[in-house]
């Protein structure tokens, strides 16, 4: 059972340094005239579905390249074998600072403290690219609500501790606690979105 969110992970849209785009708008324009020519990668699940939806709305077609994780795709992004990765900000930011890749936007509703100049997908007019990754605490089904609420109180207190925020910020995350009900609602609404997208794209669970 959900107890509390603890931290939200920042994801970002990273492109190879040679790609002549610097915004999501540039990316759409560039890709539209190159149907199927460019490759992209994202972790399975929410990042993958979100970028599919981005392409559906924009009417663009890129070729998906499966990797076990988005961090494994970053070396190929540096060399230009693939052109775009939905990556965790923590993994991509050092590479961007070295000029090995470029970042176009973060996928969270608010800008990341670690990269305050990097605009959000919402600011770039691409709200469909918003992915919130609420990491948190869960307990067994039998855990009483009173206990879950007590733990959630503790998590919220920790999340508002500046030292914790700073430490998580350094990892590309933002600390944020919640009540059990708020966390359950957030997860349920996300599930609703992912189920609908999976259905739209004809994705079915393997039996």
């Amino acid at each position: 059972m959900p107890i509390s969110s603890a931290a939200y992970d920042f994801l970002c849209v990273a492109v190879t340094a040679k790609l002549p785009v610097s915004t999501l708008g540039d990316l759409v324009t560039y890709v539209k005239s190159r149907t199927g020519e460019l490759n992209w990668a994202a972790a399975p699940g929410a990042p993958y579905l979100t970028f599919l939806e981005f392409q559906r709305r924009a009417g663009t077609v890129m070729t998906y390249v499966p990797y076990k994780s988005s961090s494994q795709a970053l070396p190929d992004l540096i060399t230009g074998q693939i052109q775009l990765v939905i990556s965790s900000l923590a993994s991509a930011l050092p590479l961007a600072r070295d000029g090995q890749i470029k970042l176009l936007a973060v996928t969270t509703p608010e800008r990341a403290a670690a990269a305050p100049d990097l605009m959000t997908a919402i600011e770039a007019g691409r709200p469909e690219l918003t992915v919130e990754a609420p990491l948190g605490f869960f307990g067994p089904k039998t855990m009483p609500i009173e206990l879950r609420e007590r733990i959630a109180d503790d998590v919220r207190a920790l999340a508002s501790d500046p030292a914790i925020s700073q430490r998580l910020g350094g990892l590309g995350m933002v600390a944020r606690g919640s009540t059990p009900v708020e966390y359950a609602t957030t997860l349920a609404e996300q599930r609703s979105r992912w189920v609908a997208l999976a259905q739209t794209f004809g994705i079915r669970p393997k039996r």
Partner: protein, 285 residues
């Protein structure tokens, strides 16, 4: 504050099992607002609830505020279901319905038609709460029709042939402005009301299917609905963040003919370069 759009029904009068009658929910910070109640609306809302849209409540019993674009059956055939099922499943307050002239009479007729059921549930063993089966119909005119802490709703007249009282709605929340066209042929009021909006949910028919229907139905489409070309013209004028197609006309012949959603989408994309998608039941935007 976060606003979500849930497509509960994207269909037409044709009984397509994949597309319920027109119905759209706008959910603002956990409060649901419903627009139109075509056949299947309550079951689609229940499906959305089961997928995680908890705002509807178990048994779709948390609905309170409803808007209606016009009185055609494909947009209203779910009305008894909306009133009665949500009450039976636990709704404790009356529905507030904002719709065209005639919604009051329709409400009274529905309640009268089901008076035996209502009496049985009120006075039999169930002892269902009287407060929940109430409906307050509000017959609207163009202009601001509803405001609360979450949302501001403006109704504007649209052009749906001889259907005199037909409306589109503009919904404004803190983070989104959404326009729902209702059923309409092109009209200047849509251009005015779609300005600076994030999402337009608009009906349309494709010109390819238009060419396949009889002259009578071609004339009907021109007078009552919007072609792909006309919709692209509108979109080019107002440049929404996202254009969502719903109430897509079939190519004549009802459900016997496959629905070619890609044909319509391609026709619009040839003329409009912004974001456009075909809406499907239970999609969330």
């Amino acid at each position: 504050m976060s606003t979500k759009i849930v497509l509960l029904g994207t269909g037409t009068p044709g009984p397509d099992p994949a597309r319920s009658g027109p119905a759209t929910a706008i959910i603002v910070d956990g409060t649901p607002y419903l627009v139109d109640f075509g056949p299947g609306v309550v079951r689609r809302a229940a499906a959305a609830y089961q997928r995680g849209m908890t705002a509807f409540g178990a048994g779709v019993s948390r609905l309170r505020t409803v808007f209606l674009t016009h009185l055609h059956a494909d947009h209203t055939a779910g009305y008894p279901d909306l009133i009665l099922t949500t009450w039976i499943m636990g709704r404790q307050w009356p529905l507030e319905i904002y719709g065209p002239k005639g919604i009051r009479a329709m409400t009274n007729h529905v309640l009268q038609a089901w008076e035996i059921d209502i009496a049985n549930r009120l006075h039999g063993m169930e002892k269902a709460p009287r407060s929940g089966n109430g409906v307050n119909p509000h017959e609207i005119v163009p202009g601001r029709v509803y405001t609360d802490a979450n949302i501001r709703v403006t109704a504007f007249p649209v052009n749906h042939g001889e259907m005199d009282d037909a409306f589109g709605f503009r919904f404004e929340t803190v983070d989104k402005t959404i326009v729902i066209s209702g059923d309409t042929a092109p009209t200047p009021t849509l251009v005015e009301n779609c300005k600076n909006c994030d999402v337009i949910i608009h009906e349309a028919y494709s010109l390819e299917t238009y060419r396949k229907v009889s002259r009578k139905w071609q004339a009907y489409r021109r007078k009552y609905h919007t072609s792909s070309r006309e919709l692209a013209e509108l979109a080019n004028k107002v440049r929404p963040g996202l254009l969502v197609l719903y109430h897509r006309a079939n190519p004549g012949g009802g459900t016997k003919v496959a629905n070619q959603e890609d044909v319509l989408l391609d026709e619009i994309r040839r003329l409009y370069k912004g974001d456009v998608v075909t809406g499907h039941d239970l999609e969330v935007f």
